[in-house]
């Protein structure tokens, strides 16, 4: 199960040149600044635009120039969510939702209408016309409409960027539920770091029409050789599960692959899967285990690599914590004083941990 896309396109000064092998499950974020070719790539995969190349989605060839094969958009089993909801204004929410579903043979429908209505919380909107829906409601209907075609892949082009912050917060939980409950791979184009950190399992980083990195999110963010910043700062994202709750101190324990972290109790139930983001600037490195410190989260690990930061005073250190990479930002002087080198056992002191989603 994978999506293989190879394209070469020169449009004036803009050149898109990619050879991607994307995961056939989970959410793959296509991340990059505006003008990097994210939307172009998505439109090529959808067949809305055309460029020389090769495209294979979960074993089905959608474009093969050597065989002069190009499947038109309406024959590709995909769902597409545009930046603006783009509901058909002349159809009610129900008829919008049914539009694509009715065009899929009954035997090929794998997505249940009621399930989608529940998942997206749009059951009460069915008889409304698009003009009477809020921006967030429209986008949820548009997502449902795309999903009801039982796509092999869901393409989402900055689906939240036309919404204000409150609407974004309204939709993000629904997107997480899609991710957790449906087995449809999602390609999620975005330039918003918080969305990527929260939703993505895999990431493709585009810059000026080229893929500068691709792979699992945690690994890719922990690479030191790439200036990949979700936002202003380097940092990693870990998947964890809420374990124990410490009612006395209002803390919960989040268990991840390499250890545990104590975080502020925000009321999440135990057993719930969460994402944790740790910025490199909030992590410091010590050679010994300091008991007498205000820092709650101390993790043992092994230095994996050291690299220069953009400022000459700083360095990034990648530390392997039970298989999970965590990146720390230290001054180069500290790195030299401590004599940090790959293979060295160290203790990480984590000052701040952000629970996302």
């Amino acid at each position: 199960m994978s999506i293989r896309a190879r394209y070469r396109l020169a449009r004036g000064a803009f050149v898109l040149d990619v050879d991607l092998d994307m995961a056939g499950q989970g959410i793959t974020a296509v991340f990059g600044p505006s003008g990097s070719g994210k939307t172009t790539l998505l439109r090529l995969i959808a067949g809305l635009d055309r460029a020389p190349g090769h495209l294979e989605v979960n074993g089905e060839v959608w474009q093969d120039d050597t065989a002069r094969h190009f499947l038109p958009t309406h024959r590709r089993a995909l769902g597409y969510v545009f930046q603006e909801a783009s509901l058909f204004p002349h159809l009610s929410a129900r008829r919008n939702l049914e539009y694509g579903m009715q065009r899929v043979p009954a035997g090929a429908r794998r997505v249940n209408m009621q399930r989608i209505l529940d998942l997206l919380g749009i059951g009460h909107l069915l008889d409304r016309m698009p003009e009477s829906l809020s921006g967030g409601e429209r986008q949820r209907v548009a997502i449902g409409r795309a999903l009801l075609t039982s796509p092999r892949v869901l393409l989402m082009d900055e689906p939240l960027s036309a919404l204000d912050l409150a609407r974004k917060q309204e939709i993000l939980p629904y997107l997480e539920r899609l991710h957790d409950e449906l087995e449809i791979p999602i390609l999620y184009v975005s330039h918003a770091a918080d969305e990527v950190a929260r939703l993505a399992d895999h990431i493709v980083v585009l810059d000026s029409g080229r893929a500068v990195a691709q792979g699992p999110l945690a690994d890719t963010l922990a690479r030191l050789d790439l200036p990949i910043r979700l936002g202003d700062d380097a940092g990693v994202v870990l998947d964890a599960r809420i374990g124990e709750r410490d009612a006395t101190w209002h803390l919960v324990r989040a268990d991840f692959a390499g250890g545990t972290l104590w975080v502020r109790d925000t009321g999440l139930p135990t057993g719930r899967r969460v994402r944790i983001r740790i910025l490199a600037r909030d992590v410091s490195v010590a050679l010994d285990h300091h008991e007498r410190t205000s820092i709650l989260n101390l993790l043992p690990g092994t230095v994996a690599a050291i690299a220069d930061e953009s400022h000459p005073a700083l360095a990034l250190v990648r530390v392997d914590v039970g298989g999970q990479p965590i990146v720390a930002r230290v001054t180069r002087r500290s790195a030299a004083t401590l004599g940090l080198a790959p293979g060295m056992p160290v203790w990480l002191q984590i000052k701040a941990v952000a629970l996302i989603g």
């Binding site: 809305l48 958009t73 783009s86 058909f88 075609t149």
Partner: protein, 222 residues
């Protein structure tokens, strides 16, 4: 109203109705092409379609008479097909009216197609609708106001036509004598009372048409 006048009214409505129907079938693909194409032919084709807006009807009628006459290419074709000659027949008038009212049907539909942008059709394609499917399920309903305007304008413009009819059809009662020609006849015969009846009817009709267009436009805004 004399039976002859009633016949003229009926003939006018029949001509306008037939013309409008044919125009819808003809103008829709033409309007789509003009709204979407990037071809170099767009300019010349658009100019040709819009020619009747600026040409005197007599010029159009004159050339149609020549082309459809016994020595014209279309005339020879219709004769060899056993259809006879078109000038001075109802169907000759239909051909003339269709060409004469073409821009009034094409322009509103073309504008409606252009205004809706590429997005709705792209969305429909991602929802598995092939071209014909999405054209009729998305493009046509979204362009509905344009179609309504085109129908009203094409019908009304055909009703109000005089020059092309006179050049091409003459004045045969029951075959080519439409209201505008009948009014001309009454005035020539100094029968102002009969002329008033038809002319007043035309004024009322035209007023209703413009009023309904206005209402259509207002409904579109809300």
């Amino acid at each position: 109203m004399t039976p002859e006048d009633l016949l003229a009214v009926w003939l006018t409505l029949k001509l306008a109705g037939t013309t409008t129907l044919i125009l819808l079938i003809l103008a829709t693909p033409l309007a789509w092409w003009l709204a979407r194409t990037r071809s170099l032919w767009k300019g010349p084709v658009a100019a040709l379609v819009n020619l009747p807006l600026v040409l005197p009807p007599t010029v159009l009628g004159f050339y149609l008479l020549l082309v459809m006459g016994p020595h014209g290419p279309v005339g020879r074709l219709t004769e060899s097909l056993g259809l006879g000659r078109l000038p001075f027949t109802f169907w000759g008038l239909v051909v003339g009216s269709v060409l004469f009212s073409l821009p009034f049907a094409v322009l509103p539909i073309q504008n409606a197609f252009a205004a809706m942008g590429e997005r709705p059709m792209e969305v429909a394609a991602t929802l598995r609708a092939g071209f014909r499917d999405r054209f009729f399920s998305v493009a046509v309903p979204l362009a509905r106001p344009g179609f309504l305007t085109a129908i009203v304008l094409a019908f009304a413009h055909t009703v109000g036509e005089f020059g092309v009819v006179l050049m091409l059809g003459g004045n045969i009662p029951g075959e080519t004598q439409v209201v505008s020609v009948a009014i001309y006849n009454h005035v020539e015969a100094m029968d102002y009372g009969a002329a008033h009846l038809l002319a007043g009817g035309m004024v009322a009709f035209s007023f209703m048409v413009l009023l309904s267009l206005n209402l259509l436009a207002r409904r579109r805004q809300t």
